[in-house]
């Protein structure tokens, strides 16, 4: 069966991998396949090809010393050449800088500086940032992200000082973090909240303080990364009527059902977890949206509008 991946792409992977194949190295095949995003079969074929690569005289002492055994790649000798990591190309460096930008790392951050020592000399994160931007501004802080990522891997509880948009208030909680996820540029942490006694999803840019507690917990076997923070499952629903002039889309109201009316208005049924959050969004329509039900939410919208007016 012909490989679908071009040889050049496969060569890039193998050349990137070589520095890990020092004498005695053992790497699970499944981990490598996941890292490169390829099927195990393709990976094994390429590793078998790699094992017959080397330098003259192309005898066993001059070839890449690897075997595949028991689901692992095992290195049993020294590499004949290219035993040091190859520098990141400009394209690879930019991919890395852009990826880190999404979690609050500006191009002049010390972490970026450190990583660029492994990149081609003419690479400039500042120049990248002038041409490609994956985040408009620090979206939360790198320190928060780093702490969360480390705690997720270690299965360690976190104490967080969190500002809730639904309640428009701050709370301190102890959480058991499961996974990190990004939805439309915003990073979230899914965790079991010990204060609430339930699963919760936290926006990292609303975390005011985060510290590792040093206390570990048993992690779920296969935690799912957080889905978009707002889904309708199990939530109360509000009925909101939007004026004919107002553009309404499911993208702006996740989980909502929208019913265009004969007069051009739109009746929306919107799930919500915090009344304050929805009240603010309705009030922000400045008269082009009106809550029909439930009554307490109508009161909340009116009260918020009065409060903002200083009445």
């Amino acid at each position: 069966m012909a490989d679908r991946t071009p040889a050049a792409a496969r060569a890039k992977r193998m050349l990137a991998l070589l520095h890990r194949l020092g004498d005695g190295a053992r790497i699970p095949l499944d981990d490598l396949a996941a890292e490169f995003g390829v099927g195990r079969e393709e990976l094994v074929r390429d590793l078998e090809t790699l094992s017959i690569c080397g330098v003259e005289p192309y005898d066993p002492l001059a070839l890449v010393p690897l075997i595949i055994e028991d689901g692992e790649v095992r290195a049993f000798g020294e590499l004949p050449a290219l035993d040091l990591p190859v520098r990141l190309t400009a394209a690879e460096a930019r991919a890395l800088v852009t990826a880190l930008e999404t979690c609050g790392t500006p191009s002049d951050d010390p972490l970026v500086d450190k990583l660029m020592r492994a990149a081609a000399e003419d690479v400039s994160p500042e120049a990248f940032g002038r041409l490609v931007r994956a985040a408009a501004a620090p979206n939360g802080s790198l320190a928060t992200y780093e702490t969360a990522a480390a705690a997720v891997e270690a299965g360690e509880k976190l104490r967080i000082d969190y500002w809730s948009a639904g309640r428009e208030g701050r709370t301190t909680r102890v959480v058991r973090p499961h996974a990190l996820g990004n939805d439309r540029g915003v990073w979230y942490l899914s965790a079991y909240c010990e204060n609430a006694g339930a699963e919760r999803v936290f926006r990292l840019d609303r975390v005011r303080a985060m510290e590792r507690t040093g206390e570990t917990f048993e992690r779920p076997v296969a935690p799912a990364p957080p889905t978009p923070a707002f889904t309708g499952a199990g939530l109360p629903t509000a009925e909101v009527l939007f004026s004919a002039e107002e553009e309404v889309s499911e993208r702006d109201w996740p989980g909502a059902s929208l019913e265009p009316q004969a007069d051009g208005t739109t009746l929306a049924r919107i799930p919500y977890s915090g009344s304050r959050w929805l009240a603010r969004r309705v009030a922000a329509r400045l008269g082009h949206a009106r809550v029909l039900a439930p009554e307490p939410l109508r009161d909340a919208v009116r009260d918020l509008a009065r409060e903002t007016l200083g009445l």
Partner: protein, 331 residues
């Protein structure tokens, strides 16, 4: 068809052998040295075909980070591995830095809306001592057909790098579709959508295009090594990212006071637009150009609490009128 019993080399084998040959050579080598000592170049290949293959292979090695220098060896081109420019420093990462790279890497390489997954995979493979796998992280940086957006951005990014003009069908917010020819200067991601900024040939001016509204995107394939345009030297894509109230003509300066929570998250909230000035009482004054007064008023309410609109007076009036209507309709 090769003779029976003759093994046909995989191109992968040839490329890796070539890289190792250069890395192992004590001094400069010629093309004839390569042909004689690197397994993978077909013996029956004529000289012209070999040279073409060798030239392509050198480019592929460069694209992998293997850098060669050139020197003259008695009138013949010689090649030497540039070790300084090929081998990178080993980077020592703290535990939390490693966890960050593993999480953000795992999330983005699996996201079809992130256009540089393959490059990110390779970067992490070169940096990390162990495979990045088994991390609980995911991403959907772009909604509205993430795979299509990701593929288009990859093409636009390559075109912008090579300075090649692109063409595409484009549907505006007014639902009008027309063909556009654009020199792509830069790209940005905002709230789940990718955007490209470039010179619109038809309008003779810079425009910003929403990638999800493009159809049949293609880059100019003629003379691939010759740029079609020059990017303005001072171009910075950050200058094209706009908040919802910044679209339109004749901007005036808006002034808002941010307090409490809004003041604490001012950089993220303001998206880098305008200027922020801390006040002695802990509040932050934000001055920012604004074109849509009603959109500004809406933005101030939606992003509260702690966002007080001070100027211009038209926006403050729009806000008071609008909220007055809210009170009346919810009375």
């Amino acid at each position: 068809m090769p003779p029976k019993g003759v093994r046909v080399s995989d191109a992968l084998e040839r490329l890796v052998n070539l890289a190792m040959f250069f890395a192992n050579a004590a001094g400069p080598v010629t093309r004839h040295d390569v042909r004689a000592h690197v397994t993978g170049y077909p013996a029956e290949q004529d000289e012209a075909a070999f040279l073409r293959m060798f030239e392509r292979d050198k480019e592929e090695l460069l694209a992998s980070g293997i850098v060669l220098t050139f020197e003259d060896i008695e009138g013949e081109p010689g090649y030497r591995l540039d070790r300084e420019r090929t081998y990178g420093a080993t980077v020592e990462l703290a535990v939390e830095e490693t966890a960050t790279l593993r999480a953000v890497g795992t999330a983005l390489v699996a996201d079809p809306g992130y256009p540089w997954a393959e490059e990110l995979r390779l970067a992490l493979a070169k940096l990390m001592p162990e495979p990045v796998a088994g991390v609980a992280a995911g991403a959907t940086v772009a909604d509205e057909d993430p795979a299509a957006q990701g593929a288009r951005v990859a093409l636009l990014s390559a075109a912008a790098d090579a300075r090649k003009t692109v063409a595409f069908g484009y549907t505006t917010s007014a639902h009008v579709t027309a063909e556009r020819t654009v020199d792509p200067y830069g790209l940005f991601l905002r709230e789940g959508r990718w955007y490209v900024v470039g010179l619109d040939h038809g309008r003779g001016a810079e425009r910003t295009f929403t990638v999800s509204r493009m159809l049949d995107l293609r880059a100019n394939a003629t003379k691939p090594r010759s740029p079609d345009f020059e990017r303005p030297a001072a171009f910075n894509v950050a200058g094209y990212e706009r908040l919802p109230f910044q679209y339109g003509d004749s901007p005036s300066e808006a002034v808002l006071r941010l307090t409490g929570e809004a003041a604490e998250r001012a950089p993220a909230l303001t998206g880098g637009a305008g200027s922020l000035e801390g006040e002695p009482d802990g509040s932050v004054i934000w001055r920012v150009p604004a074109s849509g007064m009603r959109r500004l008023a809406r933005w101030a309410v939606e992003n509260g609490p702690g966002v007080e609109l001070l100027e211009p007076v038209e926006a403050v009036e729009a806000l008071r009128e609008g909220l007055g209507e809210v009170v009346r309709s919810h009375g």
